[in-house]
Amino acid sequence: MTPLLSARDAYGRTLLELGRENEDIVVLDADLSDSTRTSLFAARFPERHFEMGIAEANMIGTAAGLASCGKMPFASTFAVFATCRAFDQLRMSVAYPKLNVKVVATHGGITVGEDGASHHAIEDIALACALPNFVVIVPADAKATEKAVDAIARHVGPVYMRLTRLAVPVVYEQSCDFTIGKAVTVRDGKDVTIIANGIMLSSALEAAAVLGQDGISARVLDMHTVKPMDEVAVEKAARETGAIVTAEEHLLHGGMGSIVARTVLEKAPVPMRFIGIRDRYARSGKPEQLLEMHGLTAPSIAHTVRELLAQG
């Protein structure tokens, strides 16, 4: 059994560390600092923490004002509120003027579970990717989250990062080499490439292991940066393995897979399949039930790969 670690905890701890090094880092919350783990930073640096109440639009606008005066605001709330609720503020006040605001959202995807569809962010990546100047990141595990938080603090410009509510399986046991915009080859292979991110990366690895037993050699890429996408890695995967399956905990419309598909079509067209949520809302339930209902599992990925290779 793969051990589980919380990416949210990793975010809170890393932010606290960065806060010690960099006095320009400020943190804003919308009444969820306990859930987003920014409470760690707030307890240590109360003067640099701004509780904005349940008012996400104002939180993002305030972050923009802070950034315009040289601060590096981290604004955190649930993914569904950070993007859907405050989209125009992200666009007008942050993306357009290219301000150095980091939006780190927790509770992405359907693994939020029992709270139901109102709280499942399944559109957030499409929305964030629609914003020019934004970097969009979906780390796969706690270690990658640490590295990603560190990396976005060194990047100048707007960032959207999505984390999950649940503890996630450890993918990177030792360390991971995290560079914004550079996909990680987590497993090499020659017959097909599975491109995944977030919680789907560990499922992709599981699927690749199963396929390996059947003699199918699957490459697995961690596409942690959805925008700007690592087009070189995508093209290489297409040319070297000849088939691509993407897997994401997000709507297929406008998600990571659709951006991979555009890249593949432009650079080196090969047959593709897509694992993701198909134009509908999920419901209340246990996270694993919901993943099963929407086909976001290792067996589903393995099945899709076999189908694709059989047709190819």
Binding site: F50, G53, A57, G65, L66, C69, G70, M92
Partner: protein, 290 residues
């Protein structure tokens, strides 16, 4: 920095200059929002030529006062004030809304020195101003943040989120001005979405409220001076104004909310505004070169 302080009559002259530019620029561009720019001209003249601490030769000066034009469609008034202050050459004003110009239809802080915030989608400036004031507090700076809101604009819910936060954080370095010209695109504010009693609303949100005639330069200066002395809460100056103020045929005329005067109308408007002897020797001529 200007060492010499402009008198009330000189400030009124500056407001006339701004009005002249607003009419000339929008007529040259063939589009824009002259009505809400003209209503704000006296307030903006007071800010840029007397009230605000700023240095056009050093737009990024850390200790400068900030001005956020939350009602971004009044960009012509802001651009005129920036040019008159010396942030850039007058020639640029002729380029309003043209493809190769930094004078975008609504202000873009990345393209033009002196523009402190990119605005245009209404309701966002007060949040930005609050963030600037919070940064100033952290940095132990004493700059103020002035933010101009439209009255139609305060229909937006975000304005009231920001109003609550400004009072919660006791942002006494934030001074808002409500350009109460009583008209928005679809008609009178009280018909479109009633605002009154608007002063009571701001007071209930914890703001110090001042009410003035927004075209009375002495009253404007007095209000800013009062607002600067308020401690522990933000201030809003509700400035009663007239949309299109300065050109008789544009006043209260909703056609000029989002439409430019044509060339003939421009000449009439400029004629009404250029009453000063000094205007005759003004080197800025409209329409500009096309």
């Amino acid at each position: 920095m200007e060492e010499y302080e402009l008198s009330v009559s000189e400030l009124q002259g500056k407001a006339r200059c701004l009005r002249c530019h607003i009419i000339g620029m929008t007529a040259t561009a063939g589009s824009g929002h002259p009505g809400g720019s003209l209503s704000a001209a006296d307030i903006i003249a007071a800010l840029y030529f007397r009230i605000m601490r700023h240095d056009p030769s050093n737009p990024q000066w850390e200790d400068r006062d900030r001005f956020v034009l939350s009602k971004g469609h009044a960009a012509p008034a802001l651009y005129a004030a920036l040019a008159e202050s010396g942030y850039f050459d007058y020639e640029l004003l002729y380029g309003l809304r043209k493809c190769d110009s930094p004078l975008q239809g609504h202000p873009d802080m990345t393209q033009l020195p002196g523009v402190e915030a990119s605005t245009g989608s209404l309701g966002q400036g007060l949040s930005i101003a609050n963030g600037m004031a919070l940064a100033g507090r952290l940095d132990r700076k004493d700059y103020r943040v002035y933010v101009l809101l439209g009255d139609g604009e305060v229909d937006e819910g975000q304005v009231w989120e920001a109003a609550m936060a400004g009072s919660h954080y006791r942002l006494d370095r934030v001074i808002a001005i409500l350009d109460r010209n009583r008209q928005q695109i679809d008609g009178w504010t009280e018909d479109v979405m009633a605002l009154e009693p608007v002063a009571d609303k701001w007071e209930a949100f914890g703001w110090h409220v001042l009410e003035i005639d927004g075209h009375d330069m002495e009253a404007i200066l007095h209000a800013f001076s009062q607002a600067q002395q308020v401690e522990g809460q933000p201030t809003i100056i509700i400035a009663q104004t007239i949309k299109g103020k300065g050109a008789s045929f544009m006043e209260h005329n909703l056609r000029f909310h989002g439409n430019a005067p044509n060339r003939d109308e421009m000449e009439v408007g400029l004629g009404e505004i250029r009453t000063d002897e000094r205007c005759k020797s003004c080197r800025v001529q409209y329409p500009g070169p096309c």
